[in-house]
């Protein structure tokens, strides 16, 4: 389970129901280039807070623009991490 797999799953959940989702293919992908707007980014952060045990107040200060930037912020602040994609799916239900 890679970070990019988790990212793509969370993006799919966070986007409006039935909206088209473009899959991120590399850590360098920029949110805007794969169809994620600022609102999508904020919603995704809420899910990452849950998945990685990050305090809301901390992540509210972030404004990542790419998968890599998000990854670095999450890794620097995480207090836990999901053990499997099944856990990711469960948290994002």
């Amino acid at each position: 389970m890679t970070f990019i797999e988790i990212f793509n799953y969370v993006a799919k959940v966070a986007r409006p129901a039935h909206a088209k989702v473009t899959i991120a293919e590399s850590m360098e992908d920029v949110f805007a280039d794969i169809g994620l707007d600022s609102l999508d980014g904020l919603v995704m952060l809420m899910y990452f807070d849950e998945l990685y045990g990050i305090d809301d107040a901390t992540s509210k200060e972030w404004s990542p623009k790419s998968v890599q930037e998000l990854h670095d912020l999450v890794m620097a602040n995480k207090t836990k991490e999901p053990a499997s994609m099944e856990e990711v799916v469960e948290v994002c239900k």
Binding site: P16, A17, H18, A19, L39, L42, V43, M46, Y47, E50, D56, V91, C92, K93
Partner: protein, 369 residues
């Protein structure tokens, strides 16, 4: 010409007793819409709306754009702004983590993206008349502003302590105590009365004649005309029992439809079954129409609040297609107008009525196709 080309509905006849509140009462609801609400990531009205956001229909609409397109979210009583905890046996407790999604227009803007490019996104909070009141907006946009497609999404989750207690306190809702005494939900009846609260949603696509011709599709109905009005109110949560508000809405809809009142043969009433609505709506219909049959859906699916007007109209269209105008449930008297027995649909136009607290009455006239 304005046509109803596609629709989806979500309502349930399943009821559950909520007994841990001041006025214990049964509600029509989808328990799954409250799954994981404690996470703060789940927005109950959004879960409810997803029940009518059919992916195949959304794909079709995105891939078949017409001219100018509008999206209207008829949110009824604006419960998207559900700030403050709701709690029932700990199961219904929730808080929202993300304020923008509690703002009705933000949610509308986000859902509208799923339908393709929009020329207008707007919302309506005309209480329980909301989804029928917006028929007047649909009419205006298509007839006077050259829109070709107006998408109406209506959704309301009235299953909250605040709503259940408010309606219990105002003696509008049927409480469990009354049900144990033998009272059943009904309308226009001398014995049974009242309603339960229900969750509901509907999605309806209205299109111009040009849009219908472009797509070569067969519409379900034609929106003939719609109007909303208010009465000389002395009580913002009451109704004039002489039916003034309903009469003004009905007469306005008839006027803008350019039809004769006797062309209306089937009425979907607001039909809450409260004493004041029974009097007001019955007086209004008897004064404005001639031979008609009237039905009500709230006894089956609960009062779905802002969604009720349009949602119940769509359920009536389903029933008419099946060859029936259903009886008003639990009538104890024989009545051939406010139906005590189901009947075959008479030929003629269909009129839907709705009323909302805060003094608003809406009427919309449709022709089944």
């Amino acid at each position: 010409m304005i046509y109803l080309t596609h629709y989806r509905t979500a309502s349930t006849q399943d009821v559950e007793l909520f007994d841990d509140i001041i006025y214990p009462q049964k509600v029509n609801w989808f328990p799954d819409t409250y799954n994981r609400t404690k996470s703060g990531l789940v927005y109950v009205p959004h879960k409810l709306a997803e029940k009518v956001l059919d992916p195949e229909l959304l794909t079709y609409l995105r891939e078949n754009p017409v001219g100018k397109t509008a999206f209207i979210l008829a949110g009824g009583n604006a419960h998207f702004a559900g700030i403050g905890q709701r709690e029932y046996n700990s199961r219904l407790t929730y808080t929202y983590k993300f304020l923008p999604f509690t703002l009705t227009q933000v949610y509308a803007g986000r859902i509208a993206q799923s339908f393709g490019e929009m020329d207008m996104v707007t919302t309506d909070a005309s209480a329980c008349a909301s989804s029928l009141k917006v028929m007047m907006d649909v009419q205006n946009l298509i007839q006077f502003y050259n829109f070709d497609r107006v998408i109406v999404l209506t959704v309301e989750d009235g299953v909250s302590n605040a709503v259940l207690e408010f309606f219990g306190d105002s003696k509008a809702v049927l409480t469990e105590k009354q049900e144990q005494e033998g009272i059943k939900p009904s309308a226009f009846d001398s014995t049974n009365f009242g309603f339960r609260i229900g969750q509901g949603a509907a999605l309806a696509i209205f299109e111009s004649r040009e849009a219908v011709a472009q797509q070569q599709i067969k519409p379900h109905a034609r929106l003939v005309g719609a109007y909303s009005a208010s009465e000389r109110s002395t009580n913002a949560i009451g109704q004039c029992e002489d039916g003034e508000g309903f009469i003004k809405a009905i007469e306005g809809a008839i006027h803008y439809s350019n039809i004769s009142p006797d062309e209306i043969k089937i009425v979907k009433t607001h039909g809450t079954g409260t004493a004041s609505n029974n009097k007001a709506e019955k007086n209004a219909l008897n004064q404005t129409l001639k031979a008609f049959v009237a039905t009500s859906y709230k006894q089956k699916i609960g009062h779905t609040m802002g969604s009720s007007g349009l949602l119940e109209t769509l359920l009536l269209l389903n029933d008419i297609r099946s060859g029936v105008v259903p009886a008003i449930a639990n009538r104890t008297e024989t009545d051939s107008a406010f139906l005590s027995e189901s009947t075959t649909p008479p030929d003629g136009l269909i009129m839907s009525l709705a009323a909302g607290m805060g003094n608003i009455y809406s009427a919309a006239i449709f022709k089944g196709m």
